[in-house]
Amino acid sequence: MTDVASAEFAAGTAPLSAAGVGDYWALLKPRVMSLVVFTGFAGLWVAPGHINPVIAAVAILCIAIGAGASGAINMWYDRDIDAVMNRTLGRPIPAGRMQPNEALSFGVILACGSVILMGLAVNVAAGALLAGTIGFYVFVYTMWLKRRTPQNIVIGGAAGAFPPMVGWAAVTGDIGWPSVALFALIFFWTPPHFWALALFRSGDYQKAGVPMLPVVAGPRETKKQMFVYTIVLWPIAVAPYFMGIAGAAYLAVAAVLSLCFTGFSIAVWFDRTDKWPKRMFAFSILYLTLLFALLILDRAPGGLLG
Protein backbone atom coordinates (compact mmCIF):
# COMPACT_ATOMS: atom_id res chain seq x y z
CA MET A 1 0.00 0.00 0.00
CA THR A 2 2.70 2.45 -0.93
CA ASP A 3 1.27 4.03 -4.04
CA VAL A 4 -0.16 7.54 -4.09
CA ALA A 5 -3.75 6.54 -4.82
CA SER A 6 -3.87 4.13 -1.90
CA ALA A 7 -2.34 6.73 0.41
CA GLU A 8 -4.94 9.27 -0.73
CA PHE A 9 -7.64 6.70 -0.21
CA ALA A 10 -6.44 6.05 3.32
CA ALA A 11 -6.31 9.78 4.02
CA GLY A 12 -9.66 10.39 2.34
CA THR A 13 -8.20 13.32 0.39
CA ALA A 14 -9.10 12.37 -3.16
CA PRO A 15 -12.42 11.52 -4.84
CA LEU A 16 -11.27 8.07 -5.95
CA SER A 17 -13.42 5.86 -8.07
CA ALA A 18 -15.28 3.06 -6.36
CA ALA A 19 -16.54 1.86 -9.73
CA GLY A 20 -15.95 -1.70 -10.80
CA VAL A 21 -15.82 -3.05 -14.35
CA GLY A 22 -19.49 -3.96 -14.07
CA ASP A 23 -20.37 -0.31 -13.46
CA TYR A 24 -18.65 0.77 -16.67
CA TRP A 25 -20.49 -1.99 -18.47
CA ALA A 26 -23.80 -0.79 -16.98
CA LEU A 27 -23.05 2.74 -18.27
CA LEU A 28 -23.18 1.36 -21.80
CA LYS A 29 -26.84 0.33 -21.36
CA PRO A 30 -26.14 -3.18 -22.67
CA ARG A 31 -29.78 -4.10 -23.28
CA VAL A 32 -30.35 -1.04 -25.46
CA MET A 33 -26.99 -1.66 -27.10
CA SER A 34 -27.94 -5.22 -28.03
CA LEU A 35 -31.04 -4.04 -29.93
CA VAL A 36 -29.01 -1.30 -31.65
CA VAL A 37 -26.34 -3.81 -32.68
CA PHE A 38 -29.01 -6.17 -33.96
CA THR A 39 -30.75 -3.54 -36.13
CA GLY A 40 -27.41 -2.14 -37.28
CA PHE A 41 -26.31 -5.62 -38.32
CA ALA A 42 -29.60 -6.09 -40.21
CA GLY A 43 -28.93 -2.88 -42.17
CA LEU A 44 -25.44 -4.09 -42.99
CA TRP A 45 -26.65 -7.57 -43.88
CA VAL A 46 -29.41 -6.57 -46.30
CA ALA A 47 -27.40 -3.85 -48.04
CA PRO A 48 -26.38 -4.63 -51.61
CA GLY A 49 -22.68 -5.08 -52.29
CA HIS A 50 -19.76 -6.72 -50.57
CA ILE A 51 -17.87 -5.87 -47.42
CA ASN A 52 -14.83 -7.60 -45.95
CA PRO A 53 -15.99 -9.61 -42.89
CA VAL A 54 -13.34 -7.97 -40.69
CA ILE A 55 -14.45 -4.49 -41.77
CA ALA A 56 -18.09 -5.54 -41.21
CA ALA A 57 -17.19 -6.67 -37.68
CA VAL A 58 -15.45 -3.33 -37.08
CA ALA A 59 -18.56 -1.49 -38.29
CA ILE A 60 -20.76 -3.44 -35.86
CA LEU A 61 -18.26 -2.87 -33.05
CA CYS A 62 -18.29 0.87 -33.77
CA ILE A 63 -22.10 0.92 -33.76
CA ALA A 64 -22.08 -0.92 -30.40
CA ILE A 65 -19.48 1.40 -28.87
CA GLY A 66 -21.23 4.49 -30.24
CA ALA A 67 -24.53 3.33 -28.73
CA GLY A 68 -22.83 2.60 -25.42
CA ALA A 69 -21.13 6.00 -25.44
CA SER A 70 -24.50 7.69 -25.98
CA GLY A 71 -25.87 5.74 -23.02
CA ALA A 72 -22.96 6.79 -20.80
CA ILE A 73 -23.33 10.48 -21.66
CA ASN A 74 -27.09 10.17 -21.16
CA MET A 75 -26.52 8.72 -17.67
CA TRP A 76 -24.14 11.57 -16.86
CA TYR A 77 -26.66 14.22 -17.95
CA ASP A 78 -29.70 12.53 -16.41
CA ARG A 79 -28.07 11.67 -13.09
CA ASP A 80 -30.44 14.01 -11.20
CA ILE A 81 -33.63 12.43 -12.51
CA ASP A 82 -32.16 8.91 -12.40
CA ALA A 83 -31.78 9.39 -8.65
CA VAL A 84 -35.54 9.84 -8.17
CA MET A 85 -36.89 7.10 -10.43
CA ASN A 86 -37.12 3.57 -9.05
CA ARG A 87 -36.15 2.10 -12.43
CA THR A 88 -32.86 4.03 -12.56
CA LEU A 89 -31.71 4.79 -9.03
CA GLY A 90 -29.48 1.73 -8.98
CA ARG A 91 -27.39 3.07 -11.89
CA PRO A 92 -23.69 3.68 -11.10
CA ILE A 93 -23.86 7.48 -10.67
CA PRO A 94 -27.03 7.86 -8.57
CA ALA A 95 -25.95 4.82 -6.53
CA GLY A 96 -22.69 6.67 -5.74
CA ARG A 97 -20.37 4.07 -7.22
CA MET A 98 -19.06 6.43 -9.89
CA GLN A 99 -18.20 10.12 -10.13
CA PRO A 100 -20.27 11.96 -12.81
CA ASN A 101 -17.13 13.19 -14.59
CA GLU A 102 -15.85 9.64 -14.92
CA ALA A 103 -19.02 8.69 -16.79
CA LEU A 104 -18.79 11.77 -19.03
CA SER A 105 -15.12 11.17 -19.86
CA PHE A 106 -15.79 7.51 -20.53
CA GLY A 107 -18.71 8.37 -22.84
CA VAL A 108 -16.89 11.12 -24.76
CA ILE A 109 -13.77 8.99 -25.30
CA LEU A 110 -15.85 6.06 -26.56
CA ALA A 111 -17.97 8.33 -28.79
CA CYS A 112 -14.92 9.96 -30.41
CA GLY A 113 -13.10 6.64 -30.70
CA SER A 114 -16.02 4.85 -32.35
CA VAL A 115 -16.62 7.66 -34.88
CA ILE A 116 -12.93 7.98 -35.80
CA LEU A 117 -12.51 4.22 -36.14
CA MET A 118 -15.68 3.96 -38.26
CA GLY A 119 -14.54 6.82 -40.50
CA LEU A 120 -11.01 5.49 -40.97
CA ALA A 121 -11.55 1.72 -41.09
CA VAL A 122 -14.98 1.51 -42.75
CA ASN A 123 -15.94 4.68 -44.64
CA VAL A 124 -16.61 8.37 -44.09
CA ALA A 125 -20.37 8.15 -44.72
CA ALA A 126 -20.83 5.52 -41.99
CA GLY A 127 -18.59 7.54 -39.64
CA ALA A 128 -20.57 10.73 -40.28
CA LEU A 129 -23.88 8.92 -39.75
CA LEU A 130 -22.62 7.42 -36.50
CA ALA A 131 -21.49 10.86 -35.32
CA GLY A 132 -24.90 12.25 -36.23
CA THR A 133 -26.64 9.44 -34.34
CA ILE A 134 -24.63 10.01 -31.17
CA GLY A 135 -25.04 13.78 -31.46
CA PHE A 136 -28.79 13.45 -32.01
CA TYR A 137 -29.23 11.20 -28.98
CA VAL A 138 -27.09 13.34 -26.69
CA PHE A 139 -27.92 16.90 -27.76
CA VAL A 140 -31.36 16.69 -29.38
CA TYR A 141 -33.01 13.97 -27.29
CA THR A 142 -31.24 13.95 -23.91
CA MET A 143 -30.40 17.62 -23.49
CA TRP A 144 -33.12 19.36 -25.49
CA LEU A 145 -36.30 17.35 -25.89
CA LYS A 146 -36.51 14.87 -23.04
CA ARG A 147 -37.41 17.34 -20.29
CA ARG A 148 -39.26 19.84 -22.46
CA THR A 149 -41.92 18.16 -24.56
CA PRO A 150 -44.21 15.12 -24.43
CA GLN A 151 -43.11 14.50 -28.03
CA ASN A 152 -39.61 13.76 -26.66
CA ILE A 153 -39.50 10.13 -27.67
CA VAL A 154 -41.27 10.76 -31.01
CA ILE A 155 -38.50 13.01 -32.34
CA GLY A 156 -35.81 11.48 -30.13
CA GLY A 157 -36.74 8.07 -31.50
CA ALA A 158 -34.77 8.99 -34.60
CA ALA A 159 -31.56 8.36 -32.66
CA GLY A 160 -32.51 4.72 -32.15
CA ALA A 161 -33.62 4.44 -35.77
CA PHE A 162 -30.32 5.44 -37.36
CA PRO A 163 -28.28 2.22 -36.75
CA PRO A 164 -29.67 0.27 -39.76
CA MET A 165 -28.73 3.28 -41.92
CA VAL A 166 -25.24 3.23 -40.42
CA GLY A 167 -24.95 -0.49 -41.17
CA TRP A 168 -26.22 0.06 -44.71
CA ALA A 169 -23.79 2.94 -45.27
CA ALA A 170 -20.91 0.77 -44.02
CA VAL A 171 -21.46 -1.48 -47.06
CA THR A 172 -22.64 0.94 -49.73
CA GLY A 173 -21.02 4.21 -48.64
CA ASP A 174 -24.32 6.05 -49.03
CA ILE A 175 -27.94 6.21 -47.84
CA GLY A 176 -30.35 4.14 -49.91
CA TRP A 177 -34.16 4.27 -49.81
CA PRO A 178 -34.44 0.77 -48.31
CA SER A 179 -32.30 1.94 -45.39
CA VAL A 180 -34.66 4.89 -44.97
CA ALA A 181 -37.51 2.35 -44.78
CA LEU A 182 -35.69 0.51 -41.98
CA PHE A 183 -35.17 3.87 -40.26
CA ALA A 184 -38.90 4.61 -40.56
CA LEU A 185 -39.78 1.19 -39.16
CA ILE A 186 -37.91 1.86 -35.91
CA PHE A 187 -38.91 5.53 -35.84
CA PHE A 188 -42.66 4.78 -35.92
CA TRP A 189 -42.29 1.75 -33.65
CA THR A 190 -40.65 3.80 -30.90
CA PRO A 191 -43.66 5.87 -29.69
CA PRO A 192 -46.03 2.94 -28.99
CA HIS A 193 -43.13 1.00 -27.47
CA PHE A 194 -42.08 3.75 -25.07
CA TRP A 195 -45.59 4.94 -24.26
CA ALA A 196 -46.55 1.39 -23.27
CA LEU A 197 -43.67 1.56 -20.77
CA ALA A 198 -44.59 5.09 -19.73
CA LEU A 199 -48.20 4.02 -19.04
CA PHE A 200 -47.15 1.67 -16.26
CA ARG A 201 -44.20 3.82 -15.14
CA SER A 202 -45.95 7.21 -15.28
CA GLY A 203 -45.52 7.71 -11.53
CA ASP A 204 -41.76 7.49 -11.95
CA TYR A 205 -41.71 10.00 -14.80
CA GLN A 206 -44.03 12.36 -12.93
CA LYS A 207 -41.77 12.25 -9.88
CA ALA A 208 -38.75 13.06 -12.04
CA GLY A 209 -40.56 15.86 -13.93
CA VAL A 210 -40.14 14.19 -17.32
CA PRO A 211 -43.13 15.23 -19.48
CA MET A 212 -43.95 11.85 -20.95
CA LEU A 213 -47.27 11.79 -22.80
CA PRO A 214 -49.22 9.82 -20.13
CA VAL A 215 -48.08 12.37 -17.52
CA VAL A 216 -48.95 15.46 -19.58
CA ALA A 217 -51.93 14.39 -21.71
CA GLY A 218 -53.20 11.44 -19.68
CA PRO A 219 -53.58 7.73 -20.45
CA ARG A 220 -56.59 8.17 -22.76
CA GLU A 221 -54.76 10.44 -25.24
CA THR A 222 -51.64 8.27 -24.99
CA LYS A 223 -53.56 5.12 -25.83
CA LYS A 224 -55.21 6.84 -28.79
CA GLN A 225 -51.85 7.92 -30.18
CA MET A 226 -50.38 4.47 -29.60
CA PHE A 227 -53.18 3.00 -31.69
CA VAL A 228 -52.60 5.53 -34.49
CA TYR A 229 -48.87 4.76 -34.60
CA THR A 230 -49.51 1.02 -34.88
CA ILE A 231 -51.74 1.74 -37.90
CA VAL A 232 -49.05 3.96 -39.46
CA LEU A 233 -46.63 1.05 -39.02
CA TRP A 234 -48.60 -1.26 -41.33
CA PRO A 235 -47.34 0.08 -44.69
CA ILE A 236 -43.88 0.76 -43.26
CA ALA A 237 -43.48 -2.77 -41.89
CA VAL A 238 -44.23 -4.33 -45.28
CA ALA A 239 -42.22 -1.74 -47.26
CA PRO A 240 -38.98 -3.83 -47.27
CA TYR A 241 -40.80 -6.43 -49.38
CA PHE A 242 -41.88 -3.87 -51.97
CA MET A 243 -38.38 -2.37 -52.01
CA GLY A 244 -36.88 -5.74 -52.84
CA ILE A 245 -34.88 -6.34 -49.68
CA ALA A 246 -37.24 -8.98 -48.24
CA GLY A 247 -39.26 -11.89 -49.57
CA ALA A 248 -42.84 -13.09 -49.36
CA ALA A 249 -42.30 -14.86 -46.02
CA TYR A 250 -41.26 -11.54 -44.50
CA LEU A 251 -44.31 -9.85 -46.01
CA ALA A 252 -46.69 -12.42 -44.52
CA VAL A 253 -45.15 -12.38 -41.05
CA ALA A 254 -44.82 -8.56 -41.01
CA ALA A 255 -48.50 -8.22 -41.88
CA VAL A 256 -49.58 -10.63 -39.14
CA LEU A 257 -47.27 -9.07 -36.52
CA SER A 258 -48.46 -5.56 -37.38
CA LEU A 259 -52.04 -6.70 -37.03
CA CYS A 260 -51.20 -8.19 -33.61
CA PHE A 261 -49.45 -4.97 -32.58
CA THR A 262 -52.59 -3.00 -33.38
CA GLY A 263 -54.60 -5.64 -31.51
CA PHE A 264 -52.44 -5.05 -28.44
CA SER A 265 -52.98 -1.29 -28.71
CA ILE A 266 -56.76 -1.86 -28.79
CA ALA A 267 -56.50 -4.09 -25.71
CA VAL A 268 -54.47 -1.36 -24.00
CA TRP A 269 -57.12 1.21 -24.95
CA PHE A 270 -59.83 -0.69 -23.07
CA ASP A 271 -57.63 -1.78 -20.18
CA ARG A 272 -57.72 0.29 -17.00
CA THR A 273 -54.92 -1.65 -15.34
CA ASP A 274 -51.19 -2.05 -16.10
CA LYS A 275 -51.66 -5.57 -17.45
CA TRP A 276 -52.02 -4.83 -21.18
CA PRO A 277 -49.49 -1.96 -21.31
CA LYS A 278 -46.94 -4.38 -19.86
CA ARG A 279 -47.91 -7.03 -22.39
CA MET A 280 -47.77 -4.53 -25.23
CA PHE A 281 -44.33 -3.35 -24.12
CA ALA A 282 -43.05 -6.94 -24.16
CA PHE A 283 -44.70 -7.62 -27.52
CA SER A 284 -43.25 -4.44 -29.04
CA ILE A 285 -39.73 -5.76 -28.39
CA LEU A 286 -40.66 -9.11 -29.89
CA TYR A 287 -42.26 -7.35 -32.88
CA LEU A 288 -39.13 -5.41 -33.84
CA THR A 289 -36.80 -8.29 -33.08
CA LEU A 290 -38.79 -10.69 -35.25
CA LEU A 291 -39.05 -8.26 -38.17
CA PHE A 292 -35.31 -7.63 -38.23
CA ALA A 293 -34.56 -11.33 -37.66
CA LEU A 294 -36.72 -12.11 -40.69
CA LEU A 295 -34.88 -9.54 -42.78
CA ILE A 296 -31.60 -11.21 -41.82
CA LEU A 297 -32.87 -14.76 -42.42
CA ASP A 298 -34.29 -13.76 -45.78
CA ARG A 299 -30.81 -12.80 -46.94
CA ALA A 300 -29.04 -15.73 -45.29
CA PRO A 301 -26.89 -17.86 -47.59
CA GLY A 302 -29.15 -20.44 -49.19
CA GLY A 303 -32.26 -18.35 -48.45
CA LEU A 304 -33.51 -19.83 -45.21
CA LEU A 305 -36.98 -18.49 -45.85
CA GLY A 306 -37.13 -19.84 -49.38
Binding site: S6, A18, V21, N52, V54, I55, G96
Partner: protein, 43 residues
Amino acid sequence: MGAMSVSMEEFLKRRKSRNKAILAVLVGLCVLFYAITIARLSH
Protein backbone atom coordinates in the same frame (compact mmCIF):
# COMPACT_ATOMS: atom_id res chain seq x y z
CA MET B 1 -25.31 11.04 -5.16
CA GLY B 2 -22.29 11.24 -2.93
CA ALA B 3 -19.31 8.99 -3.39
CA MET B 4 -19.92 5.55 -2.03
CA SER B 5 -17.61 4.60 0.82
CA VAL B 6 -15.87 1.29 0.30
CA SER B 7 -13.24 -0.51 2.33
CA MET B 8 -9.58 -0.30 1.33
CA GLU B 9 -9.66 -3.98 0.42
CA GLU B 10 -12.69 -3.51 -1.84
CA PHE B 11 -11.16 -0.38 -3.41
CA LEU B 12 -7.97 -2.27 -4.29
CA LYS B 13 -9.97 -5.20 -5.67
CA ARG B 14 -12.03 -2.94 -7.94
CA ARG B 15 -8.96 -1.01 -9.09
CA LYS B 16 -7.25 -4.27 -9.98
CA SER B 17 -10.25 -5.44 -11.96
CA ARG B 18 -10.35 -2.09 -13.80
CA ASN B 19 -6.66 -2.37 -14.64
CA LYS B 20 -7.16 -5.88 -15.99
CA ALA B 21 -10.06 -4.65 -18.14
CA ILE B 22 -7.92 -1.80 -19.52
CA LEU B 23 -5.18 -4.30 -20.36
CA ALA B 24 -7.70 -6.50 -22.16
CA VAL B 25 -9.00 -3.49 -24.10
CA LEU B 26 -5.47 -2.45 -25.12
CA VAL B 27 -4.59 -5.97 -26.27
CA GLY B 28 -7.93 -6.11 -28.09
CA LEU B 29 -7.18 -2.81 -29.87
CA CYS B 30 -3.77 -4.12 -30.99
CA VAL B 31 -5.40 -7.22 -32.47
CA LEU B 32 -8.17 -5.11 -34.01
CA PHE B 33 -5.82 -2.66 -35.73
CA TYR B 34 -3.70 -5.55 -36.98
CA ALA B 35 -6.79 -7.25 -38.41
CA ILE B 36 -8.01 -4.00 -40.00
CA THR B 37 -4.60 -3.42 -41.60
CA ILE B 38 -4.52 -6.91 -43.07
CA ALA B 39 -8.13 -6.60 -44.29
CA ARG B 40 -7.47 -3.21 -45.92
CA LEU B 41 -4.24 -4.41 -47.52
CA SER B 42 -5.92 -7.47 -49.00
CA HIS B 43 -8.77 -5.37 -50.43
